[in-house]
């Protein structure tokens, strides 16, 4: 009796094993066709609102128009998440990955694993220096910095402080962001000689790298105001978020507006420009950047070669030209559709919009 039951148990066991193996065999089928030929890996929402506000819808439209299947993901600032998303992209059969890196190390690791999987990488807006990326699509970021530097100089000339040895504060972007370094390179090329010749004075400051975080920027700028006895005549803020932090600090301390630069031409930034709290901002048509990146991706998917117009740190690049926006030409943003009139000319700011 015991032997029979034991034999039955073993047979049952065998049957179980066979069934399990058989069902798992169906799980080993790999996807026959790519469910997304292009994958876009956006970095976060903290450093800039542009990724969800502009990049995502523009890229989405461009790929849909070309009939290329795609997935757009945002890593929310976490490198582990971006790596997982890249793995998912490869599992989905991506041929091209548009990578907007979070830091050089994870950027290189992700690029390497994507290239090893047989796909191509386009560095979108942020460059992973020395990686296996095929193309880098971005604005000429050094030119962006130059526009900011020149913009600050002309604003100081306009309000007469230029010849009075103005004290200048700088709020840089994120230290891991290669773009932030290129912007700094640009505005340093304008401001550096002016500091050296004594025309401008550098404000006393500690660490001026803000991680693109307006909250951090506000803390740093408040401390700079304290260290310089509220005597700061101009601020080179690397983007509109940081400029906003400066404006909020000035307003909070009941100080007068001073020349402040920005970048990204956000609705808030434009409002401050028309109201006189911000001197100007750099307009990088994300539409143009997304279109160029999408075009490059579609070309690579179809197996063609991308037309490049430069090289940044050894990577073939498609570099686009930025525009400096002030109160004189801000209406260009409306005609371009980048910012809506109803986003800017409302409430207290309506009176400034002529």
């Amino acid at each position: 009796m015991k032997t029979i039951s034991r034999a039955l148990a073993l047979v049952g066991l065998l049957a179980l094993v066979v069934t399990v193996v058989a069902t798992s065999a169906s799980a080993t089928r790999t996807a026959k066709h790519a469910t997304a030929q292009v994958c876009v890996l956006l970095p976060d929402t903290k450093s800039s609102a542009r990724y969800e506000l502009f990049d995502r819808p523009y890229l989405d439209k461009a790929f849909k128009a070309a009939g290329v299947s795609h997935t757009i993901l945002n890593a929310q600032g976490d490198a582990q998440t971006q790596k997982s998303q890249a793995d998912g992209c490869m599992a989905n059969g991506a041929k091209v990955v548009l990578l907007d890196q979070l830091d050089p190390t994870s950027g290189k690791a992700i690029t390497d694993s994507v290239v090893a999987g047989g796909a191509k990488v386009i560095d979108y807006d942020r460059l992973v220096v020395g990686s296996k990326a095929s193309v880098y699509v971005s604005f000429d970021n050094v030119k962006v910095g130059v526009l900011q530097g020149k913009g600050l100089v002309s604003a100081l000339k306009l309000n007469g402080k230029y010849s009075q040895h103005p004290v200048i504060a700088e709020l840089n972007g994120g230290i891991t962001d290669n773009n932030a370094k290129l912007f700094k390179q640009g505005y340093d090329s304008v401001l550096g000689p002016l500091y050296k010749s004594g025309v401008f004075t550098k404000a006393k400051a500690g660490d001026q790298w803000t991680d693109w975080d307006p909250v951090k920027g506000q803390t740093i700028f408040t401390q700079m105001l304290t260290r310089n006895s509220n005597h700061i005549d101009g601020v080179l803020a690397a983007n509109d978020g940081l400029a906003g932090a400066v404006v909020a600090t000035l307003k909070g301390k009941h100080l007068n507006p001073i020349p402040v630069t920005g970048q990204d031409a956000t609705p808030t930034g434009v409002q401050y420009i028309v109201a006189g709290w911000q001197s100007g901002t750099v307009y990088k048509s994300v539409k143009a950047e997304a279109a160029a990146a999408a075009q490059a991706a579609i070309t690579l998917v179809k197996g063609g070669k991308v037309k490049t117009n430069g090289r940044v740190s050894g990577t073939p690049s498609v570099l686009l030209t930025p525009v400096w926006i002030t109160k004189a030409n801000y209406k260009l943003l409306f005609t371009d559709g980048f910012v809506k009139r109803t986003q800017v000319c409302i409430g207290a700011y309506a009176q400034f919009c002529k």
Partner: protein, 423 residues
């Protein structure tokens, strides 16, 4: 009953004279085990059932949305995504078993990663081979765990406060330690292989066979030990079925991993398996493990029973630190380096949520180490699936939050049922 004997009615005689209760099936037989399992479910001891139901639900949902979710390549990816979080969650399980919490495990794993990255970098006088750097990092993390645990064990500072302070301090350490370029690359092949290397298919089969053999041997050893001790040897059917299932699962996992585009079993998966086996054994089969459950169930009663509660508390936080360090190795290896935000992001919440979703009670005293794996699989498969279909991040967070809430609600409800049944 003897004729003529006085009929005294009392609870004692009632028990003697009442008809024998209907025999429950012997729990050593398959049918009996099933019956006992159903009885446990009814009395509120749900075990891993809610998690498994959730897993099945998630798989069915995503398989219907994309053909890529239920494939070998994605399964292999999932193992890599689960490994880091699950390893940290193992430590969290131990802490939760005591009824405490460790809020520092996220950045502690980051410190571990940064420690490895720093020491394996060439050219600054402190460089060591990658594996030595890993050892250093594990020692460091265990010591940090001990330091935090000593406040809880010796001074009875609430663990919430101690580990929250630790969390802030460790984040500062990472920002300070990662130099101006704000990320350090790991070049050491062995460290990068932890998350990057996949066993050749043949080696994978050997491992599966080895696991099957080891499990079979352990069953045989237990059987022989009982025989030698003169105890009645139990029916072999159940252990054989268990052995068959374990072997089947082992071979199936290897088959699936080999079939994916990675062509092999990931090392991080094997590391996770080894840790799960080790700590399940510690929690379930050692005196220390029993002491942990005792202190978590009722610390005062444990103290009066002679258990060194102070040592148990200290040891558990050391385990938490150590496992955070092990998880940190895997996480650093995945991106071949560390950034100034290493150990940040959703990691802390995922590690704790994993332990809770897997079935560890927040109130202490109940839970199993395997909960770390089950909960991590639930959380990471949601993340994995949503990324495959291109959903927005907010959906990921909302769904994970809802499942976490459901897990705790079920756990609380089951606890009340158990108290009602007197377990």
């Amino acid at each position: 009953m003897q004729r003529g004997a006085p009929t005294i009615s009392s609870p004692v005689t009632d028990v003697l004279t009442s008809p024998a209760p209907r025999a429950t099936p012997d729990p050593d037989t398959p049918l009996g085990a099933l019956h006992a399992y159903v009885e446990r479910l009814k009395s509120g001891e749900l075990g891993s059932l809610p998690v498994i139901v959730a897993m099945v639900g998630i798989t069915v949902f995503f398989a219907s949305k994309t053909s890529v979710f239920f494939t070998a390549t994605n399964f292999n990816n999932l193992i890599g995504q689960v490994a880091g979080t699950a390893l940290i969650a193992i430590g969290v399980v131990f802490v939760l078993l005591l009824g405490e919490i460790d809020l520092s495990v996220g950045f502690l794993s980051g410190v571990g990663g940064v420690c490895i990255a720093f020491f394996q970098t060439q050219g600054h006088g402190y460089s060591v081979p990658g594996l030595v750097a890993v050892l250093l990092s594990l020692v460091l993390c265990t010591l940090i765990g001990a330091f935090q645990g000593s406040f809880v064990a010796f001074i009875a500072v609430p663990s919430f406060v101690v580990t929250l302070a630790g969390n802030l301090a460790l984040q500062a350490v990472i920002i300070r330690w990662v130099p101006q370029t704000r990320s350090i690359t790991i070049d050491d092949k062995y460290v990068n292989d932890v998350a990057g290397y996949y066993l050749p298919p043949a080696a994978g089969w050997l491992v599966a066979a080895g696991i099957s053999a080891a499990f079979g041997l352990s069953i045989a050893a237990a059987f022989r030990a009982r025989r030698r001790a003169g105890l009645p040897t139990r029916n072999l059917t159940l252990p054989l079925i268990r052995w068959g299932l374990v072997s089947a699962v082992g071979f199936v996992v290897v088959a699936v991993c080999n079939h994916g585009s990675q062509h092999g079993v990931p090392i991080s998966g094997l590391l996770l398996l080894a840790m799960l086996v080790l700590w399940t054994w510690v929690a379930g089969s050692t005196t220390f493990g029993r002491h942990v459950y005792a202190v978590g169930g009722n610390a005062e009663a444990a103290r009066r029973a002679g258990i060194n509660v102070v040592f148990v508390r200290l040891a558990v936080f050391m385990i938490s630190g150590l496992m955070a360090g092990v998880g940190g190795v895997v996480l650093a290896s995945r991106i071949n380096g560390v950034s100034s935000d290493q150990g940040g992001g959703p990691l802390l919440l995922y590690a704790i949520a994993a332990a809770v979703i897997g079935g560890t009670s927040l109130f202490g005293g109940r839970g199993r180490v395997i909960a770390a794996l089950l909960g991590s699989v639930v959380i990471m498969s949601i993340s994995n699936g949503l990324d495959l279909i291109g959903s927005s991040s907010w959906q990921k967070y909302v769904i994970t939050g809802v499942i976490l809430l459901a897990a705790v609600a079920i756990d609380t409800f089951a606890r009340r049922r158990q108290q009602g049944v007197g377990r």
